[in-house]
């Protein structure tokens, strides 16, 4: 099997970045990218970050959502890591990788001299164990790897070389290795109970190599972590990070204004963000993110299997009222499946407008008998509930009977995976897990993602063909038009209601500096920060 340097095989990650990775390989040094290496050394202080989602576990392979990303990002390291905005894929535990010509074999070269928090060296065996663990535990990032990596197929070639043997070619595999968080296999094996892959242990304890060491964890309070001075990039800027679970929006806002917290997540009504912006002691950072808000439409159930009905739905949502009034103009309309700032998003896609007359026009062309449509929102995510209500309002005006159903995420995610149980419509976000149009177009529209990300159960052979081609094409310039075409077709098909692309808001106290926002991880990587 021929392997080539990454210089030749540019995955879907932006050519320049990989060239850098290749360059790093060329220097053969154990140091990462220059601007990563310039970490602030030995700073003091402590940051208290108020988080709206509860940390119910410290297992890096058990969660995948952005709400609980902090412990994964700060206490564990992945093979590669996405940093900054627009996101760049940087070598992390791996100093370089190569991909075979057929796109099925990826070989990662690990950094030398990386140790876990307990002093044990991090080797290729740990990477293999972590990969197997993800596949065995079947949580968190499992859906990302399950179709590509078979259990037992990952090999440790030597102490610092790992080889992934994929079942199908993938131009984006390296982009997803951010989520292969490497755990201390020796420690976990010592603490394994009844073949649980150490789940009981790691759920509450530290077993990583990341910038911070978990010192205290309490599901009701959050976690407290202390700087790991022997991190391979050098010690982080702040000595202690304290992530508190603060459920109530008002507590987060008020705590930040008072100075009890130095930062908080931005998942709150825009009205509260405005309140934070007005405070002189706060610095509400803003960045264009890539997080798509949309509504799934169950394409395979009547009457939604009729394109006219789906178009009627798309015309029944009050986009302007939503974006300008409810969200106070804080987001941007996104007419297609790929977020606007991402390459592969067509710049001139008209999309749909709020137009009850058009909705009625399309509705008149629907053959199937009318019935009550179930519109679902997610409990705990008020925006999704509000959007569902807003759509219901439009549906009523268009003459479509509907019923709202709000259920918690665990229930929702289960139903999404079953076409029988899936709601007629469901409002949710698609965050960035890897910065590639495939993260949206591929995961949300390909038929092989039925029972996975494609909860609309959308099926179009042409779209599948284009996506397959894009996945087998290494060159970004050639891939971009393919994704643009997918976006156009899916918009014409009214595959889902594409609504807006989110902006990121980072509310911090003014004494916090160095925040590096990246859509993957939502700016919660703390090692870059310093505090005065």
């Amino acid at each position: 099997m021929a392997t080539r340097d990454t210089k030749d095989l540019v995955a879907g990650i932006g050519r320049r970045d990989l060239l850098k990775a290749g360059a790093a390989l060329g220097t053969a040094g154990a140091v990462g990218m220059p601007h990563i290496a310039e970490a602030q050394r030995g700073g003091g202080g402590r940051i208290v970050f108020a988080n709206g989602s509860a940390y119910d576990t410290m297992d890096p392979h058990a969660t995948f959502d952005v709400g609980r990303v902090a412990y994964r990002l700060n206490c564990y390291d992945g093979l590669m890591r996405w940093v900054d905005n627009p996101p760049k894929l940087e070598p992390w535990l791996a100093e370089s990788y190569t991909a075979s010509e057929d796109g099925k074999t990826y070989t990662f070269k690990l950094r030398q001299g990386v140790t876990f928090h307990d002093g044990a060296p991090l080797t290729s065996e740990d990477v293999v164990y972590s990969m197997e663990r993800i596949l065995a535990v079947k949580k968190g990032a499992y859906p990302l790897f399950a179709p590509l990596v078979a259990p037992g197929s990952t090999k440790a070639l030597d102490r610092h070389t790992v080889q992934f043997n994929l079942t199908t070619p993938s131009a984006i595999f390296a982009a997803t290795t951010h989520d292969i968080y490497v755990v201390n296999s020796a420690l976990l094996k010592r603490n394994e109970r009844d073949g649980d892959w150490g789940q009981a242990f790691i759920g509450r304890n530290d077993a990583g190599s990341g910038s911070y060491i978990i010192r205290r964890f309490d599901p009701a309070r959050g976690f407290l972590a202390q700087r790991f001075d022997k991190h391979f990039l050098g010690p982080a800027g702040i000595a202690e990070i304290d992530f508190r679970y603060v459920a109530e929006v008002n507590s987060r806002v008020l705590g930040l204004i008072r100075g009890d917290f130095q930062g908080t997540d931005p998942y709150m009504p825009q009205d509260q963000i405005v309140r934070l912006q007005a405070d002189a002691n706060l610095n509400v950072m803003e960045a264009e993110s890539t997080r798509l808000f949309y509504s799934c439409i169950h394409n395979q159930r009547a009457p939604m299997n009729d394109i006219n009905f789906r178009k009627a739905l798309c015309h029944a949502f009050d986009y302007d009222g939503w974006i300008n009034n409810i969200l106070g103009g804080s987001v941007v309309r996104n007419t297609g499946v790929v977020p606007n700032p991402m390459w592969g998003a067509p710049k001139d896609l008209p999309g749909y407008t709020y137009d009850i007359d058009k909705a009625k026009w399309y509705l008149a062309r629907v053959q199937a008998p009318m019935r009550e449509i179930v519109v679902a929102g997610m409990i705990g995510y008020e925006q999704s509930i509000q959007a569902a209500s807003l759509l219901q309002n439009g549906l009523t005006r268009a003459g479509i009977p509907s019923r709202l159903l709000n259920e918690p995420w665990p229930v929702v995610s289960n139903k999404m995976r079953d076409p029988e149980q899936m709601y007629d419509l469901l409002f949710l976000w698609r965050s960035t897990y890897y910065a590639d149009p495939h993260n949206w177009a591929g995961e949300l529209l390909h038929t092989n993602r039925h029972r996975g990300g494609n909860a609309s159960y959308y099926a179009n052979p042409e779209v599948d063909r284009l996506l397959n081609e894009a996945l087998a094409t290494p060159d970004q310039a050639k891939r971009a038009p393919l994704y643009e075409q997918v976006a156009r077709i899916s918009s014409e098909d009214a595959a889902a209601i594409f609504i807006h692309n989110t902006k990121w808001y980072g509310p911090f106290r003014k004494n916090v500096s160095g925040v590096r926002f990246c859509p993957i991880g939502d700016g919660q990587e703390m090692r870059w920060l310093s505090i005065t």
Partner: protein, 324 residues
């Protein structure tokens, strides 16, 4: 007292009925929302749901008595462990509230009785009825709005700023005393002000009403009338006989008060983000964490039954005449 065990079994039966009989498919419920068909089938067998109901019930009772309430679907930990770790927070809040409500309620009740039909009595009647008519979650939010958001003199939520003392007993007041950490102690009390005020309102209202009734009863009793006729000073009679009897009456109502507090704790903890049993229950509801909700019901019910048992015993000790 004889009925303690049957009542407990009855409680188990109710929870068993809710969790095993009402749902269309209890196995799917128990396996959690994310479960696959295979997991559900496995769960059905493991839970013995293919067995007749009475066998199921016996097994259920057996598992509860060995402390097994199943695993929380959301946290993945045993429900009993989660509940136990949150018990001290709720108990601390409840006990402080009982003390505060008693200190406020008993004197007011005595005053209302002694000044029967005066404007004070009428005002107190109105206030106590209002105290029982106000939705505690709404009252809590109003307190937050005014004292935390407008004036900024009380913490909005939480039990203590930061991580709190290393848990020894789990009671922050006791733990910070053990560590002689006055700052934390004050902070803990500071955080208690609003939740305790919210919880104490209906509790104090109830105590006022009972104390008033108790004092009136005592005042009209034959021995007080006799003592009065004998010419003892009124304050002495009130102090010696009436108060004592009224207090006994109040003690007997602590079981009832405790029920009010336990029910109140569910919403008050939710509003104040108080990491106790109530907040755990509310989060479990939001997450459709079925085992956790049932575990909470069981524990809350048991606590209530135990407190009433203790009150019965106490009552027997204080006042042997009234032994039931």
């Amino acid at each position: 007292m004889v009925w303690f065990v049957p009542t407990l079994l009855g409680l188990l039966a109710i929870v068993f009925f809710i969790s095993h009989v009402i749902p269309a498919d209890p196995a799917a419920f128990a396996a959690g929302e994310n479960a696959s068909a295979a997991t559900i089938a496995e769960m059905r067998q493991r839970l013995g749901l293919d067995q007749p109901l009475h066998i199921q019930f016996l097994r259920y009772v057996q598992s509860i008595f060995t402390g097994d309430m199943g695993r929380s679907i959301y946290t993945g930990r045993p429900v009993s462990e989660d509940l136990l770790s949150r018990l001290p927070a709720t108990l601390e809040l409840t006990l402080v509230t009982v003390v505060v409500a008693t200190l406020v309620g008993v004197p007011l009740g005595v005053v209302a009785a002694l000044k029967r039909n005066s404007w004070i009595d009428h005002a107190l009647r109105l206030v106590t009825i209002a105290g029982l008519a106000i939705a505690s979650f709404w009252f809590a939010i109003l307190l937050q709005l005014f004292f935390s958001m407008q004036l900024g003199i009380t913490p909005l939520t939480g039990r203590v700023e930061g991580w709190g003392p290393e848990p020894i007993t789990g009671f922050y007041v006791i733990d910070s005393l053990i560590n002689w950490d006055m700052e934390t102690l004050l902070d803990a009390f500071h955080h208690m002000v609003l939740p305790v005020a919210t919880l104490a309102l209906p509790a104090a209202a109830t105590i006022v009403r009972f104390t008033r009734a108790g004092v009136l009863n005592a005042l009209e009793s034959s021995y007080v009338l006799y003592e009065t006729a004998m010419g003892y000073p009124r304050w002495q009679i009130v102090w010696k006989y009436v108060l004592r009897n009224a207090l006994i009456g109040t003690v007997t109502q602590i079981g009832l008060i405790f029920g009010i507090l336990l029910a109140g704790a569910v919403v008050v903890e939710a509003v104040f983000d108080w990491p106790g049993l109530g907040l755990f229950a509310v989060n479990s509801i939001l997450n459709s964490d079925y085992n956790a909700v049932m575990g909470f019901t069981l524990v809350a019910g048991t606590m209530f039954i135990v407190v009433n048992l203790v009150v019965d015993i106490l009552q027997g000790l204080i006042d042997p005449r009234e032994t039931r």
